[in-house]
Subunit: 386 residues, 2 copies
């Protein structure tokens, strides 16, 4: 089987690039002796990818949905962090999964209300729940501030309960995505580290346990200068990379491991565009540009040849994404050579490197795996939904 | 079962509103005697919805993927229009489906190259393919212009071939989405009608058959003044409606039949926002605002109560969509009352009315069906992917 034999659109994963990206992150993590690594599987959502990502680490992973928790537990993973604040109605399903598979699932809370609900549900379900407290170290999405009075109160609501326990603190430095230099990312990483360690110290000073101090985001995991006091790093999108991550310096365009295989469905020579059968559903409508436009706008994705190489006459990008139609034009509106219609007849194959791979991959139920080149060497499952 | 018993996020379909939307469209179609109606299932992707949508019509439907074609053929539908320009590599799968189920599938071409490929593949596969020619009546996405010399050449490449036949013309007036008044939509509908009829007449003048003259888009289907010469109308999103369609006058916000059920996962009282467990994957990242911002921006969706009613103190909207987190704020930044945190504790349920329901629904494999109210009366399947 080769790429030419696949239906389009299909999701392609280059395991050679994946392996290189994993090696890069592992080398960065090793700069921080004694700090563990818990890869986030929200991007890959694949047991095959997860097995490669945990190699050389303790085996713990991070998930973003209960569907992921169930899928990875069923694939033999035994140490999960469910990194979205818990709501009480999800606890019976988590308890059932823990009982059925023996998996350990660390929960996340950022309010006294939720902490009490976890303790109460644990008792009602006769299931011991362990939780981290989410700390806001500058993203201002979720979590409590390191110096918030609520922090210790949340810890007390969890600690020494018959069916609940406090395990520490975690933060997500998502605001690193707004940085446009390695220095700026390293500064965010330091604020992330300092805030999370500060929160852990406040808990310990109040006589509460905080063995876990968990930080993470792909940019800060790659560029943190020091991680004193941190016990584990989390990151997810680094495995694949995407155009947005390349724009902010987390990877190079050549490192991108996931792409969408598409067919040319039409030529519009009057307006100078190609159509492909990868539109908004195949690529996602994520521009990654809502608040923080990256330096180089590639619309809904960068179009490369079927073999992964860039078009020599100038980059092509998807400028519009209808449900099943992608409109492809030269990246630079002015002064660039026209679309190479001759090289791309109706039915020709191209690949699209996505803006935001977490959103793009979520539209597919499997990866068609290549190992460099165009030969299909495996098919790996993904889990979607909730 | 009630909404309160469902996991979140879940996709909710109100069949009472669906029935009203179908009745509205049927009444509009009936203003054009002799014109058929071929509902587009790219939005609903559900056999249960399709059965309701074809009631009173000839039974033909429109699809946007081969996965839909296979799903609907397997659910008993026998007359399909696959309304995306065909590429040769998809023809063996279509031939296999036609042989296996006896379904008729009208194909779409807009180039001599594709027309010849259809005729050649028909011969190679011993399968008779019938096709429409796509006409560009102003959207400038795909299709040939009504007066293009290529039109007749494409027709000749299909006509009187041993395994191919020409069935007529079709257009999609997607540029009606850019209109901001009923008058402007009606003008687009007239250009759509006139261009498609003109193309059919040119084919007939050249001695070619054009029994099918197919037009459509939800706005133009609703607001066309006259459809002389047209044989069928297609539309899809009218079944459900969405915030974008309500902004351009295709429906009212109260007509929206599909919503995402979500749970409140956090309060951020400092910044004045709520968090819900419906983010970019649960809602899609479609803003429907790339080129044509609607009059009222609701971010990634309008947040209403679990029972579907709007918050009386002022509208709430999803202003940011992370992968699994939605950030909810008041719609009007200035002068509006703050978030009703008291009414929305951790774990409270809300529903989100989507910007672009075609993209949102595609993230789910089923509809949880209500009939007004909050009681679940059915579960209907959807087909996703390609």
């Amino acid at each position: 089987m080769h790429l030419a034999d696949l239906p389009t659109p299909s999701l392609i994963l280059d395991r050679r690039k994946l392996a290189a990206n994993l090696a890069t992150m592992n080398a960065r993590v090793q700069r921080h002796p004694g700090v563990g690594f818990r890869p986030h599987l929200k991007t890959a959502k694949s047991a095959d990818v997860a097995r490669l990502a945990v190699a050389g680490h303790a085996g713990g992973i991070t998930v973003s949905t209960l569907a992921e928790a169930e899928y990875f537990a069923d694939h033999g993973f035994r140490d999960l962090l469910y990194a979205v604040a818990i709501v009480p109605a999800k606890l019976p399903r988590i308890a059932a999964l823990m009982r059925r598979t023996g998996v350990a699932i660390l929960l996340l809370v950022d309010s006294v209300e939720a902490a009490r609900a976890v303790a109460e549900a644990g008792e009602a379900l006769s299931t011991g729940f362990a939780a981290l407290i989410e700390i806001d170290t500058g993203e201002h999405r979720a979590g409590v501030a390191p110096d918030s009075p609520a922090l210790v109160e949340i810890g007390r609501a969890l600690h020494h309960q018959p069916f609940a326990s406090l395990r520490g603190v975690m933060t997500h430095a998502g605001h690193s995505y707004g940085c446009r230099s390695i220095e700026a990312i390293a500064d965010v990483a330091e604020a992330e580290r300092a805030g999370t360690v500060r929160a852990a110290e406040r808990l310990r000073a109040a006589g509460l346990p905080a063995p876990v101090v968990s930080v993470g985001s792909t940019p800060t995991a790659l560029h943190a200068r020091r991680l004193d006091g941190v016990t584990e790093i989390r990151a997810g999108v680094y495995m694949f990379g995407d155009m947005f991550q390349s724009a902010i310096g987390s990877c190079a365009v050549d490192d991108l491991a996931v792409s969408v295989l598409a067919s040319v469905t039409g030529h519009n020579r009057e307006t100078g565009h190609l159509l492909i059968d990868a539109g908004g559903l195949a690529l996602s409508k994520d521009r990654s540009t809502a608040d923080t436009p990256p330096p180089h706008d590639v619309g809904y994705g960068l179009v490369v040849r079927e073999d992964g190489t860039r078009f020599p006459g100038g980059d092509l990008v998807v400028t519009r994404a209808y449900q099943e139609h992608g409109v492809v034009r030269p990246a630079e509106a002015a002064g660039s050579p026209p679309i190479p219609f001759g090289e791309l007849p109706i039915g020709a194959r191209v690949r699209v490197l996505p803006n935001h791979v977490c959103m793009t991959a979520a539209m597919y139920d499997r990866y068609h795996v290549i190992d460099g080149g165009t030969c299909i060497v495996a098919e790996w499952t993904r889990t979607n939904g909730w």
